[in-house]
Point group: C2
DNA sequence: TGTACATCAGTGAACGCGCGTTCACTGATGTAC
DNA sequence: TGTACATCAGTGAACGCGCGTTCACTGATGTAC
């Protein structure tokens, strides 16, 4: 698969940690391109990196731990991608739209990583999403605040920004996963659907 | 697993087709209870039915064909469950709400089957969702008609029932899969979120 | 400056497992005469 | 009514595969003296 993998050189002493990053990168690519957690096997990752399978155990306790790290990494990048698109100077409605658009852009560009981030693990145990994992409730607060800001600027009639933000979130999630999951549907423009979700659920005034 | 499985009696001549139904039932249960397509192996299904693995080949060409049949079966039951809850005598808004509630009830009671129905196959090839599979676009038309009926009865301001129905569908889907996929989130009442989706996306007038 | 040595970053072979699929078969059941 | 036989509904053993994981190891790299 990876023709450069066989020429990989062993890291120097003290640089063993570099392999960890290479493993995460390869595992993330496999997750995205092969389309599921089940494709992210220890052996496939090792093959992709150009290393023997047991080498992975120096950096991850087992396959579960590796998978969990991949998902955590993806989540961090997801949040960073959204924050990068928020323009603090703009008005609240523009900010809300920009954030939602960035959310969907990530889901569109990395659909399998996105889906894995927000679905229960099937082929691994609950360790991937432990009960104490907050999965970014801080990140969700950004959405609540964005809706709240629209209310305060007079652009939204929402009387319950938290619950309205929940509705908007589930709407965006549904759009993100159904578009890739059911490609044969006669989909309208993605932005058209997204605008309906934002306008209707954040209760924006025309 | 199934202690009654070892006492299963061979079907009589002419009744070999019964095994097909037993296989589908067992595969559906495995899909639901073990939580993923990867749990629905030929051997696991055979074990559950109380039959040897090669017996399945008398009824399905291969594992893919079996999985496809399970999903098709689930879809038929899904549509039937929704239609059963529509009360034709009621007013359009009540009908719309009843249909949406039935949709979510199925997704809540059989989350893994629901999720599998609407997601790309990962561990099997595209044969499970072939390009010519309409996946129930007729069923979707029911939702469009329900929104349209609300418009005609003066209960909705929608000017584009199809696109608004798409938005409502993705909203319901997102709610259905996120509630089971991210159980640690501080979810509001499901009916509260659903009402926000229906009111806001079908543009119901108060 | 030279050298012995501990350490580090990996390797290669092996294990047991469950899987999808194939193949030749078996034995009860119904039917033709 | 009896019996030979075709058919049907499965079975059991075997195959090759990729997997996660373990184990003892190797050889280059840096360090202590």
């Amino acid at each position: 698969v990876n023709s450069t993998s066989d020429v990989r050189e062993r890291n120097r002493r003290g640089e063993g940690g570099k392999l960890r990053a290479e493993i995460l990168r390869a595992a993330g690519e496999l997750l995205e391109q092969e389309g599921g957690q089940q494709a992210v096997t220890l052996r496939a990752v090792a093959r992709q990196v150009g290393v023997s399978a047991p080498s992975i155990y120096a950096h991850f306790a087992d396959r579960d731990a590796m998978l969990r790290a991949v998902v955590e990494d993806a989540f961090i990048e997801f949040i960073a991608a959204i924050k990068a698109d928020l323009q603090p100077g703009e008005d609240p409605v523009t900010q809300l739209r920009a954030g939602c658009a960035a959310y969907l852009r990530f889901a569109e560009q990395r659909p399998n990583q996105y889906r894995t981030m927000f679905s229960r693990p099937f082929n691994v145990n609950e360790a991937v999403f432990p009960a104490d994992w907050h999965f970014g409730s801080d990140a969700f607060q950004v959405l609540v605040d964005a809706v709240q800001a629209c209310v305060e600027s007079g652009n939204s009639t929402s009387t319950d920004p938290f619950n309205d933000a929940v509705a908007l979130w589930v709407g965006m999630h549904g759009l993100a996963v159904l578009r890739t999951g059911v490609p044969h549907f006669p989909w309208p423009e993605q932005s058209d659907v997204l605008d309906r979700l934002i306008d209707g659920l954040a209760k924006l005034t025309p």
